[in-house]
């Protein structure tokens, strides 16, 4: 049940789907920079680190979809979809966080059908002398000794750009692989599109799995720091049984879209008086 295992790793986020239903709204905007400078490329790569260092309030809304296809009737095809909204406010002991996720997984073959849905809502923050993770869905709480332990054990992610590794160094890509668009005249906002084909082995002739990954991001400057505004990625997977075969039909697909906003927000921790200790 490879699909189910894969599906269970899934998640999130979607309010923004509507906001960006016109990803073309961003998608086709900007002026292509024919020969981006290393300064421009390094600034864009640096935005990943900038986000990790960001200490202001933020909201992430995200959606993720994962598909597994089968052309054999008795092998299940599946789809898993998730949405997530996550907010963080403040720093240090005054930091509070909120996360809500919904997940739907479906798997279907000629002989079977499975549907799973779930919702989870969590808060983190310091209440009195306790560092608490509060799960409102099942009314449980977990206690930590420090804010760092609370954050790392909460399941609430830090402000990060998932799967942004290819953005770590943009200077080595060809113009077929990477296009950079200027969204302003002063290098304060960009749109970038990165399309890469990768294999499970270094050389295609030795590979049995092929990945075609298309990533698109928009970046904006907040208080003088270049930060991601959206990050969208589609991964198409192709398999073949033997290295001498041609690549088969589409075997799987992963899509996700993250939207980041950096405005001041308010988070009110719920009254956890009657919450049970989560053991």
């Amino acid at each position: 049940m490879k699909i189910l295992k894969t599906m269970t790793t899934l998640a999130f986020a979607c309010a923004c789907l509507f906001t960006f239903a016109g990803c073309d709204w961003f998608g086709n905007s900007g002026t292509l920079i024919e020969d981006p400078t290393d300064t421009q490329l390094n600034a864009i790569s640096g935005a990943v680190a900038n986000m990790e260092a960001y200490t202001g309030d933020y909201t992430i809304t995200a959606s993720e979809e994962q598909y597994s296809y089968s052309n054999v009737s008795y092998e299940p095809s599946g789809v898993a979809k998730g949405t997530m909204v996550e907010r963080r406010k403040g720093t240090g002991d005054s930091m509070v966080g909120y996360q809500k996720t919904t997940v739907t997984e479906q798997s279907k073959s000629v002989n079977s059908e499975i549907t799973y849905t779930s919702t989870a809502e969590k808060y983190i923050g310091k209440v009195g002398e306790e560092y608490l993770r509060l799960d409102t869905t099942d009314q449980t709480k977990r206690t930590y000794t420090t804010m760092e332990a609370l954050i790392s054990g909460s399941g609430i992610a830090s402000l990060e750009v998932s799967n942004a590794d290819p953005f770590d160094d943009l200077t080595g890509y060809t113009t077929d692989e990477l296009q950079v668009y200027a969204l302003s005249d002063d290098d304060t906002s960009f749109r970038i599109v990165l399309t890469l084909t990768r294999y499970d082995e270094e050389l295609e002739e030795n590979a049995t799995t092929k990945y075609v990954v298309t990533s698109e991001a928009t970046l904006i400057t907040i208080n003088g720091t270049l930060l991601f505004s959206t990050f969208e990625q589609t991964t198409l997977m192709y398999d073949r049984e033997n290295t001498t075969d041609s690549w088969g039909e589409l075997d799987g697909k992963i899509y996700f879209l993250y939207n980041y906003t950096y405005s001041s927000i308010s988070i009110v921790l719920p009254d956890a008086t009657n919450y049970e200790e989560d053991i």
């Binding site: 054999v72 002989n111 079977s112 059908e113 499975i114 549907t115 849905t117 099942d138």
Partner: protein, 276 residues
Amino acid sequence: MKFLKSLSVCAMALASMFVFAGCNSGTLVENPSDELKLALDTAVSAMSTTTTDYKATGIKTYDVSSDSYTMTASISAEVILSGSGADFKAYSKGVQSGHQYSDYSSYVMSSNCEFYVEPVAELYALYETRSQTTMTTSSLDSALSKVSLSDNQAELIGFTFKSFAGEDGYSASEYSIYSLGTDSYRVDIEIIEGSLDSASIAYEKMNINLYVTDGKVVQIKTADVSKSRHTINDAWETTTATCDICFSYDNIAVTIPNTTGYVTVSSSDFPQVDLF
């Protein structure tokens, strides 16, 4: 032949329930003889050794309720073995469905498979009708294990009979034998473990009705209620399981369907019914 043994303790079906609608009738056999108890043991044991010419159908249901979630599930299965040697044929079908709900999650599933087995040119062919697939193997055990109903059947029965005549078997207070007519008996078994007082964290009550006619088991019905909780301050979680399995031994026949166009697959790709 583990499969066949499992098979023979197998499965199911409500269709014949009406036959035993009068399941509470009969005459209590006071002080049953050792011969009668041994005959009942022999009938139960025969379920594990009968390898052909019988049909078993049955259904099992689960209901679980607690203060945090509910779950309902059912498994039904049918198994028919017919003939021997070159005339051997087998049929099995399994259907499962279930759902689980809590305030913040739900899980709904269903699955089914239908299999036929027959000898073909010194080998055994398995057919699965819904996926229209065929697998060929030289091993009958392998062929039968692939249909997976052995697991279903074990799941359906859910317990192992103890002896009526043996020293380590049921105690006299745990079962009663009723005569239903000539060479026909019902055995009611009730086993209670734990107690439902405030200090208990687990309790189980199992009722079994075993019907034996002409030295053969013809029906098994079970009702199992168990309750558990983590501490005495928690609410009880209640699980109710019922099972009804009927066996017949006459006029058994299996007709292999037209398998023209079925796709031949490897052993690993042959479909199976997955259990919960």
